[in-house]
């Protein structure tokens, strides 16, 4: 038995929503970063599901690029957070407030 594509889409949408809500509501920078990764994973699930639906490999290739990008972003992101933590000793987004209008 195969799982119909819209189930994957529902899962993708769920992950996407969790990710967006996480980015918008959480205060810890690392959690925000994780939420962004969640959205990227939602994208991956969609891509792979579509790829399977169309019986073409494009979507999976795309998904691999996305995974690579997610890895690069995580590396950069953690590096930035460490640099910030050295200077400010916080990872709380509310306390990162030097630049305001």
């Amino acid at each position: 038995m195969t799982i119909p594509p819209h189930w994957y889409l529902a899962l993708g949408t769920g992950l996407f929503t969790v990710g967006v809500v996480g980015v918008l509501t959480r205060r810890n920078v690392i959690v925000i970063l994780m939420s962004i990764e969640l959205i990227l994973n939602a994208v991956n699930i969609n891509l792979v599901a579509f790829s399977r639906m169309f019986h073409s490999v494009d979507g999976q290739v795309f998904a691999i690029f996305v995974i690579t990008d997610a890895a690069a972003e995580a590396a950069i992101g953690l590096g930035l957070i460490i640099a910030l933590f050295r200077n400010k000793e916080t990872v709380n987004a509310d306390e990162i407030d030097l630049l305001k209008w």
């Binding site: 889409l9 993708g12 996407f16 990710g19 980015v23 920078v29 925000i32 970063l33 962004i36 959205i39 990227l40 939602a42 994208v43 969609n46 891509l47 599901a49 579509f50 639906m53 169309f54 073409s56 494009d58 979507g59 290739v61 795309f62 690029f65 996305v66 990008d69 690069a72 972003e73 950069i76 992101g77 930035l80 957070i81 640099a83 910030l84 200077n87 400010k88 990162i96 407030d97 030097l98 630049l99 305001k100 209008w101």
Partner: protein, 488 residues
């Protein structure tokens, strides 16, 4: 799928040259003694010039490359020149900056080149995957550049904000792209355009995909309401990086919007038009109004950059509204971006000089009386601001003029009126800096040291360009028209 040929590589020659140069600079850095790091800048500059030469040579081999994922067409070529120009000006402006701020890093130049490479890939890409890859190459490099002054808290903060919101936006864009792929079965813009323009082929959920993709790209070009990161990042990032950020990724993202929304997804019609129209309106008004309250020059220029994005969107809306005669609007957008690149990069690298070591003096009041200590510098900044506010005989005027002409031609009279009134509001805040420099008494706190020669050269180049475009725009308009021709 056709096998990869030598021609494919020729068609990405500028990107190859830039990337190789970036790698060369990065590898060479440990072997260069600390006193000679400036040499790396010249190597990078040679790389940029070589990429430009490659771009010129490539004209004879235009066509699609790598199975249609990249196109070497006049459109791409135009933007590549523009991006290389922005990179070269930034480079010239940052040589002495890095010395005064004690950031002797070859990586800076390497990342600058890589950022340019990514942007070049974006403008040449005709395939959503390729666009994404280009976008990420350019974004990741610029994320790091924004935080390059590691010991500075503002730089850290700017960098983190840019990174978080940038990745968030990319995620949106990706989600949109995934939907487009799911709805049409292709990520190639040409095929997409064919599939969507076939009769009766309007996938029902396409609007979700469109909006998601627009949100993602809107973040990159900082349209309201996705602009919230822009002022903070522009203010906090090292000023030469801001110069680059405010032009290169933005111009590339505009090129993508043109390619995707006026090319591949052109048949989505009304929705795209209204998206462009509303964001143009909001972006202009909010950018200009918020800029009125700014006293920090970098932040002021950041809001002005937002407002300029709004004018560009007016041109896009005009192109969209004009239907089959979109060429005029697209050409106006291209002209605008070139003028904007000249003015904005020059303004930010000049501010980088004025802000002095550690970028302590960024306030407009810090320039009080500058005109009598450094008349040349003050006159230069004044000319740039005059051009940014769109006075005649400067590039800024023709940029606005062509956009407004396209908008009037497309009967967007309401939007044009709003844009024109906005440009009056803008005069007020641009003049604030001029008032401080010329009309207030006092001694400037801003760095009154003489202009270093690379910066001087960059400024002279920009000013010549600004006045050339402002007095004799005809050759350039022809170029812009040619560049606009590949798009439908």
């Amino acid at each position: 799928m056709t096998p990869v040929q030598a021609l494919d590589f020729i068609r990405v020659l500028p990107e190859i040259v830039l990337a190789s140069c970036a790698i060369l600079v990065m590898v060479a850095e440990p072997f260069v003694s600390a006193r000679h790091t400036a040499a790396l800048a010249w190597v990078s500059l040679i790389g940029i010039v070589a990429a430009g030469a490659g771009n010129a040579w490539m004209r004879r081999f235009s066509g699609p490359a790598f199975g249609g994922s990249i196109a070497a067409d006049p459109f791409a070529s135009y933007f590549v020149y523009l991006l290389l120009l922005a990179a070269a000006l930034t480079l010239l402006g940052s040589v002495r900056y890095l010395e005064t701020n004690q950031v002797h890093h070859g990586e800076f130049y390497a990342l600058l080149l890589l950022g340019t490479t990514g942007a070049c890939l974006m403008v040449a890409a005709t395939e959503l995957i390729m666009i994404f890859i280009g976008l990420e190459i350019s974004s990741i490099s610029t994320y790091i550049l924004a935080g390059f002054r590691r010991a500075d808290k503002r730089s850290n903060e700017a960098c983190l904000k840019y990174f978080l919101l940038g990745s968030f936006a990319t995620a949106f864009l990706l989600y949109g792209i995934a939907f487009i792929y799911g709805l049409t079965g292709t990520t190639n813009l040409v095929q997409l355009s064919e599939k969507l323009s076939a009769p009766g082929a309007r996938p029902p959920l396409l609007w979700i995909a469109l909006i998601l993709a627009f949100v993602g790209l809107g973040f990159k070009v900082s349209t309201v309401p996705f602009h919230i990161w822009t002022p903070d990042v522009y203010q906090g990032a090292p000023a030469p990086v801001t110069a680059f950020l405010s032009v290169a990724p933005k111009a590339a993202a505009f090129a993508v919007i043109l390619r995707v929304f006026l090319g591949g997804l052109a048949s989505a019609g009304a929705l795209v038009f209204w998206l462009l129209w509303i964001s143009a309106l909001l972006t202009m008004c909010l950018g200009n109004l918020a800029a009125l309250w700014q006293t920090n020059i970098k932040r002021l220029l950041a809001y002005s950059a937002i407002a300029h994005a709004g004018y560009v969107l007016v041109g896009m809306a005009a192109a969209k509204a004009a239907g089959p005669e979109a060429g005029e609007g697209i050409a106006s957008v291209l002209f605008y971006l070139a003028a904007y690149a000249l003015m904005n990069v020059a303004a930010f690298i000049l501010v980088a000089h004025l802000a002095g070591a550690g970028e302590r003096y960024q306030e407009a009041d810090d320039c009080t009386g500058l005109a009598y200590q450094r008349p040349g510098v003050a006159a230069c900044l004044t000319l740039l601001l005059v051009s940014l506010s769109g006075f005649p005989a400067t590039a800024g005027f023709f940029a606005k003029f062509y956009v407004f002409r396209a908008a009037i031609h497309a009967h967007l009279i309401g939007l044009t009126l709003v844009a024109v009134l906005n440009s009056v509001v803008a005069v007020y805040y641009y003049l604030r800096v001029v008032v401080a420099m010329y009309m207030r008494e006092g001694n400037p706190r801003a760095s009154a040291s003489p202009l270093p020669w690379p910066l001087g050269a960059a400024l002279a180049l920009s000013l010549v360009g600004i006045f050339y475009l402002g007095l004799f725009p005809t050759p350039f308009v022809r170029l812009a028209n040619l560049a606009a021709s590949p798009l439908p």
